[in-house]
């Protein structure tokens, strides 16, 4: 048992850090660190820079253009990126559809789709949830009927994050109605420019446009866009949900957020003293800091476990989202009543108008509101506890 990083891992960390220092554009860094409104161009620009370095997909094996890093190296990379103020890479392509294509797609699909994901040229979104099927995903009803060499898709998807930018959507669709609801589901890749697709924005409680509804009206999808076998999509979805949960621990991101929270606590004033000198506020910070450390160690334990992450990964989803939510709650509470003002224009980099309080107050409440999604999306935390109870504890 040795909790120190090896010299090789330390050297790797230095290399990543140096690269970030040299290559992360200042305007991007500023945007991220000030928690301004993200945009598509920024994400794509950064993805291209990583791609050019050969680091476009930290989790991919070498054969598909990944760097072939170990799980620990992936974690180091993510942490350094977050700490440096790099934007989050787009998970939907890199970490969600790509592993499915790699594992279940055919060679043609791999050659056709993976390069665009890696370079960031193709923007992917997810078509899983439907208005009637949230936690009960298997009850989905969007249908795909085989007609000759294509499927005709009808139905509606929802909670499609960043779908307004997307070139492609990966969908779970119903190709058969017999048997259990889990049977008869297929995994389909759909061009967002296909006729019959309409994207409608859903405004979130923070006033931002991040999620969408996607309507399919007789959308024709070539059969070669079916991944794996027809009616086996549930298997791939479950495979993918496991992937998603490990990522949702989000330790690198939260360590960067914690660092910022500590800075904010030093910068914000509590009357005659810096806020960090307020024992009550600092105690809560300390509690959260300890919980984050426990989460980090638990992630490392899972990553180095030769048996790989099992249903225990649900712990990471639960704790990761709870800690993330508390971090943003404290960031809001740190700025006190300055956080009440809603100044959406001030979320742009070029904003020079008036604002209330420090720059940290501007995104504070909006971010807190937005982060409530963490315990709902990606399998709600209630569902995660069901998974632990049933699959780990056998209840």
């Amino acid at each position: 048992m040795d909790l120190n990083y090896t010299p090789e891992q330390d050297a790797f960390r230095s290399e990543v850090r140096q690269f970030l220092q040299d290559n992360l554009p200042d305007d991007i860094r500023e945007r991220v660190q000030k928690r301004l409104r993200p945009d598509k161009a920024m994400t794509q620009r950064w993805q291209k820079i990583l791609f050019d370095k050969g680091w476009g997909a930290s989790t991919w094996p070498e054969e598909f253009g990944g760097p072939g890093w170990s799980p620990i190296e992936q974690l180091i990379f993510e942490e350094e990126c977050a700490m440096a103020g790099a934007p989050r890479q787009l998970d939907f392509g890199l970490r969600m559809v790509a592993p499915v294509i790699m594992s279940f797609g055919n060679d043609e699909q791999k050659q056709r789709f993976l390069p665009g994901i890696l370079s960031g040229e193709d923007w992917w979104c997810q078509g899983y949830s439907e208005p009637g099927s949230g936690s009960d995903l298997a009850s989905l009803r969007t249908s795909a009927k085989r007609e000759g060499d294509h499927y005709v898709v009808n139905g509606q998807k929802t909670w499609t994050t960043l779908g307004q930018h997307a070139d492609w959507i990966f969908c779970l669709v119903r190709t058969a109605t017999e048997g259990k609801p889990q049977q008869g589901i297929s995994f389909l890749l759909i061009d967002m420019n296909s006729p019959g697709i309409e994207v409608r924005p859903i405004i979130m409680l923070d006033g931002e446009h991040e999620i969408n509804e996607v309507y399919f009206d007789n959308v024709k999808v070539p059969v070669e866009n079916l991944v794996g076998e027809e009616n086996q999509g549930w298997t791939y979805a479950k495979f993918l949900l496991g992937h998603e949960r490990t990522g949702l621990a989000n330790v690198g991101q939260w360590k960067a957020t914690m660092k910022r929270l500590k800075e904010v606590a030093r910068e914000e004033r509590d009357g005659q003293r810096p806020l960090i000198e307020n024992t009550r506020f600092r105690d809560r910070l300390a509690q959260l800091d300890a919980e984050l450390r426990a989460l980090e160690l638990t992630v490392l334990r899972v990553l180095t476990d030769k048996r790989g992450p099992g249903p225990q990964a649900s712990i990471l989803k639960i704790r990761g989202t709870e800690i993330g939510q508390q971090l943003f709650e404290m960031l809001m509470e740190a700025t006190g009543h300055d956080a009440i003002a809603h100044v959406p224009d001030a979320l742009e980099l070029d904003y020079t108008g008036p604002r209330v309080g420090s720059i940290d107050a501007t995104p504070a409440a909006g971010d807190y509101f937005n982060m409530r999604k963490l315990s709902i999306f990606g399998g709600s935390n209630e569902i995660q506890r069901n998974i632990i109870a049933q699959l780990v504890l056998g209840l």
Partner: protein, 382 residues
């Protein structure tokens, strides 16, 4: 000892509840907010018509001689429908200050004008970096012949840009942080040297950032006693806290009702999600929290008018602590039980959550007030 509303309060409650239910729906509220004006003239006039804007003023000034318990009744109904009118700023804070500390002339001029709905007011007290420390005032009022010149920077001024007159706290002696040496002035919002930035808040209200640059006011503008304003400020804030506790209780009730409706109808895995025991217990806890908060809002309202400072402060800080915690729990869990719908702007629950969140941040969050209670225990033991 009784917890019953008086006949008058019951009538007030009934008519107000009818009004907000019938005339202040979700869509209407959206229009008011989107207007950017911070108040809806028709609604405000209707509230004046009902006597609400004068309820807590003395009968000599066209009021009804009411107290903080009446305010509780009003705010609870506002909370239920998330009314965004400037009632707290104008009636509770500014009106309360004038009522309790104004000169005869000030009362005669202002209270009837508030009561009839023709004048909006605001209380400009907080300053950048002060956080919840009420005595941390850097704004100064310098004597200049017969007038005072006010200079400084006020923030988090609720409905400040909508007000015709501002009540401004300023230091007339002492050092920053001293409780002694603070005074209150009545300032015309249109006076020279005032720069106002108007902002929306996340919950559909308005807040202003106001700079005073040698703003001249006459000596008659002084409210109460020179250098002795701290107790008045503290009490005004306590009246504000009691009002917010009432509003929070109404909003929590609305959140619980909305959530209960949702989980009774929303189906997953073939059954209404309200059949899942975990959600049942969550809902029970939300209900318990709201009931405890209601008890504390009643306590806050009963003590808010008191001049027994120790007792009032303990009660108000205890109330804001538990109401703030309950607001957090009920707000978060209400959203959680609404699932994906809960984080969209189209659901009333999301707006209840936002208001409940901001109520916790106004006039000191739960942690701040717990610290007040805690430090009070130390004083009591000394």
């Amino acid at each position: 000892m009784n917890f019953e509303l008086t006949e008058e309060q019951q009538m007030l409650n009934d008519s107000l509840r009818r009004f907000v239910t019938n005339e202040y729906g979700f869509e209407k509220r959206g229009h008011v907010i989107n207007s950017g004006k911070g108040t809806d003239p028709a609604t405000w006039a209707a509230l004046a018509e009902m006597g609400l804007l004068a309820f807590t003023f003395p009968e000599d000034y066209d009021g009804l001689g009411g107290n903080a318990v009446d305010t509780l009744v009003v705010m609870e109904n506002f909370g239920r429908s998330l009314v965004v009118e400037p009632y707290l700023a104008t009636v509770v804070l500014a009106g309360g200050l004038i009522r309790d500390h104004g000169s005869e002339a000030q009362k005669a001029d202002i209270l009837p004008a508030i009561g009839s709905g023709e004048r909006l007011m605001a209380f400009a007290h907080s300053e950048p970096g002060a956080r919840y420390n009420l005595s941390r005032v850097q704004t100064t009022a310098r004597k200049d012949g017969e007038s005072y010149l006010i200079s400084g920077h006020k923030t988090a001024v609720l409905h400040g840009a909508q007000a015709r007159q501002l009540i401004v706290s300023a230091r007339t002696s002492g050092a920053v942080g001293d409780k002694q040496g603070l005074s209150l002035f009545l300032v015309d919002a249109a006076a020279e040297g005032i720069e106002i930035h108007d902002f929306a808040t996340h919950d559909g209200h308005r807040t202003a950032d106001i700079r005073f640059n040698n703003v001249a006011v006459s000596a008659h503008s002084l409210i109460g006693t020179l250098d002795e304003a701290f107790p008045a400020i503290e009490k005004a804030v306590d009246l504000g806290i009691a009002a917010l506790c009432g509003e929070a209780v109404g909003a929590m009730e609305a959140m619980n009702t909305a959530t209960l409706d949702y989980i009774k109808t929303r189906k997953q895995f073939g059954v209404a999600i309200g059949k899942f025991q975990v959600l049942q217990h969550r809902m029970a806890d939300m209900f318990i929290q709201a009931e405890q908060a209601r008890s504390m809002a009643i306590l806050a309202a009963s003590e808010a008018d008191s001049d027994d400072r120790e007792r009032r402060r303990e009660a108000l800080s205890m109330a804001k602590t538990l109401v703030g915690q309950a607001a957090r729990y009920v707000g978060q869990q209400g959203v959680q039980l609404h699932g994906g719908m809960g984080v969209t702007d189209e659901m009333f629950a999301a707006h209840l959550f936002k208001r409940l969140t901001l109520i916790n941040l106004l006039f000191g969050d739960a942690e701040h007030h717990l610290a007040q209670v805690s430090d009070g225990l130390l004083a009591a033991s000394a």
